[in-house]
């Protein structure tokens, strides 16, 4: 096959003021462009997979989800290091000790860090961006947080350290899921 020879370095443009890659090499590899696939220059095989799962929630996260259904956030406390852990677990990963001490923490907290996502999980551009944050929850140990979304705030107004509070779905709508909290909003 003619295509079997080593192709030279490609000129892939990025932004402005671009110079092409240096060409010429002993390195193997044949680049395929999107147009090569469209034109049928090279063959490819399509396949879609569909797997179905039913995940057990386990002991600790199960209790956490029950708590969310009731409109509360459940943590667990290690009796060795005394940390109040969120999300809760039945073991302390630092002390490797068993935990059976359950506590409620507050649904308020502070933004530890945040970002603004313009793409969805398939890397497709979204019409409006979402604000993502790690929220350190009041009542949990220093630095303990969960990832969630921020709402009722413009991206440019968010800052690290901002006080926030959970916005819950109505009692009837809650089903024991992380999405029982719609998002956190400025307090």
């Amino acid at each position: 096959m003619k295509e079997g020879v080593v192709k030279k370095g490609q000129d892939i443009g990025v932004g402005r003021g671009i110079e092409p890659n240096p060409v010429g090499s002993k390195y193997a590899g044949i680049e395929v462009k999107e147009s090569d696939l469209r034109d049928g220059r090279y063959m490819s095989i399509r396949y879609s997979a569909m797997f179905r799962y039913r995940w057990d929630t386990g002991i600790a996260v199960g209790r956490f989800l029950e708590g969310l259904r009731d409109g509360r956030i459940v943590g667990s406390r290690c009796n060795v290091c005394k940390r109040i852990l969120v999300p809760p677990r039945v073991f302390c990963e630092l002390d490797f000790a068993q935990i059976d001490d359950w506590v409620y923490v507050y649904d308020t907290g502070r933004v530890n860090t945040y970002s603004i996502s313009y793409i969805d999980k398939q890397a497709r551009r979204m019409s409006s961006p979402v604000i993502v944050a790690v929220v350190e929850l009041d009542g949990a140990s220093q630095g303990m947080g969960i990832m969630h979304l921020l709402g009722e705030v413009r991206p440019e107004d968010v800052y690290v350290g901002m006080r926030v509070k959970a916005v819950w779905r109505s009692r009837e709508e809650r089903k024991g899921a992380i999405t029982d909290i719609v998002y956190f909003k400025p307090l």
């Binding site: 295509e3 192709k7 370095g9 490609q10 892939i12 443009g13 990025v14 932004g15 402005r16 003021g17 671009i18 110079e19 890659n21 240096p22 010429g24 090499s25 002993k26 390195y27 193997a28 590899g29 044949i30 680049e31 395929v32 462009k33 999107e34 399509r46 396949y47 997979a49 995940w55 996260v61 989800l65 852990l85 999300p87 677990r89 990963e93 530890n112 860090t113 945040y114 970002s115 603004i116 996502s117 313009y118 793409i119 969805d120 999980k121 398939q122 890397a123 497709r124 961006p129 993502v132 790690v134 630095g143 303990m144 947080g145 969960i146 990832m147 991206p155 690290v160 992380i178 999405t179």
Partner: protein
């Protein structure tokens, strides 16, 4: 700790890195492995054991990728194993190869790293969805860049670093890649270009991030006796280290990679390095995003906490600077076929220390080099120290 034998890198090879390649994963493995064997001047018959590194199976839609890639990687009829620690795989696979030889079990070991990310259509990003907690994170619509953007923002906040300062890394690495014949995204760009490129997950912009890629890279490792017999310029692996932090990533301080400091301590101790800043001549650190190079330089102790940006802006990490970092062009410039990208860094340090890096050869005399990769859920790092 008793290490039975010294281990050397005696050959290296790689394929082009591209967004999509015609070759299958097996074929890419074969090409990189063949080049590494040829450069070592040995044949597959001389290889005692094979280690394969490749990242998530979901890219390929093939389960048990170790078995899938086996034939192309040269593992048939030999002790063969696949290792996998996410993005850290490319530097961890040669560490696994190192203990195969250092233990005295084998005289030679071929280490092949491969990634073919293009199979997942239309974009490999979707495979990363599966690394998140199915109960607490996936229902939020998470994508991989969320967590890196969160880490970058935290890093900027804690140390007061600007997006412009961080953009210097992308400018440097993409320019270095102009001299790499395998590079996918080599370019001459400015800080302004980076700042004006569209935000993907702010503060990460398009030119702050490495591309998905197809590619493979490989090295041949040999025990001291064998290395001295077959190789004029062996490069010794004098220290290895790896460490991992908790998967409860929202409970950790993201501004500083403590797990990397731990991995580096292990490698420095083994290599007898007391002052890394003075003793490391050239470093290939993991740079899937521009801020990661800075984050990693600090974790490695090659910069003070929060000071790597300043160093970069001042040109210290340029190819002709006092501490050249990613003279290859890194993941930002050469490309990011995950496991192969980490291995590309080990290849680059080998080429630099043996004086074979061609146009990429750093100006100063180099004797000691470092390669590092990072992976799993922002929690793992692998470090290799090499000496000529």
């Amino acid at each position: 700790m008793v290490i039975k034998r010294k281990v050397a890198v005696v050959g290296a090879g790689m394929t082009l890195f591209r967004r999509r390649m015609l070759e299958t994963g097996k074929e890419l493995c074969f090409e990189a492995a063949s080049m590494a064997l040829e450069s070592a001047g040995i044949s597959m018959r001389d290889v005692d054991a094979v280690v394969l590194g490749s990242a998530p199976d979901a890219f390929d839609g093939v389960h048990m990728k170790g078995e899938y890639l086996l034939d192309g990687a040269g593992g048939v009829g030999k002790p063969y194993t696949r290792v996998f620690v996410g993005g850290g795989t490319g530097v961890f696979a040669p560490i696994a190869g190192w203990w195969h030889v250092a233990s005295g079990l084998f005289d030679t070991c071929l280490v092949v790293c491969e990634e073919k990310m293009s199979s997942l259509h239309p974009h490999p990003q979707y495979a990363f969805w599966g690394i998140f907690d199915h109960t607490l994170e996936r229902p939020l619509g998470v994508n991989l860049l969320w967590i890196f953007a969160l880490e970058m923002r935290r890093y900027m906040h804690v140390y007061g670093i600007s997006e412009e300062e961080i953009a210097h890394v992308a400018v440097k690495n993409k320019r270095n890649a102009l001299d790499h014949p395998c590079a996918q995204l080599a370019a001459k760009i400015t800080v302004e270009d980076v700042m004006r490129s569209e935000p993907i997950v702010w503060p990460i912009k398009r030119l702050d991030s490495s591309p998905p890629s197809d590619g493979a890279a490989a090295v041949v490792l040999a025990s001291e006796d064998t290395a001295r017999r077959i190789c004029k310029e062996p490069v010794w692996i004098d220290g290895v280290g790896w460490s991992i932090d908790s998967a409860y990533w929202t409970d950790r301080e993201l501004a500083y990679p403590a797990y990397l400091a731990e991995a580096a301590r292990m490698a420095y101790r083994m290599a007898g390095i007391e002052e890394p800043r003075r003793e490391i001549d050239v470093a290939e650190v993991y740079d899937p995003f521009s801020y990661k190079e800075l984050h990693h330089l600090e974790g490695l102790g090659l910069a003070d906490k929060g000071k790597a940006a300043e160093m970069t802006v001042a040109g210290v990490t340029a190819r002709d600077g006092d501490m050249p970092v990613n003279p290859s062009g890194g993941l930002l410039g050469v490309g990011n076929p995950i496991a192969a990208a980490g291995m590309m860094k080990v290849c680059e340090v080998f080429w630099q220390l043996s004086g074979n890096a061609g146009k990429r050869q750093v100006k100063k005399d180099v004797r000691t080099g470092l390669a590092q990769a990072w992976g799993d859920l922002m929690q793992f790092s692998s470090v290799i120290i090499m000496r000529s």
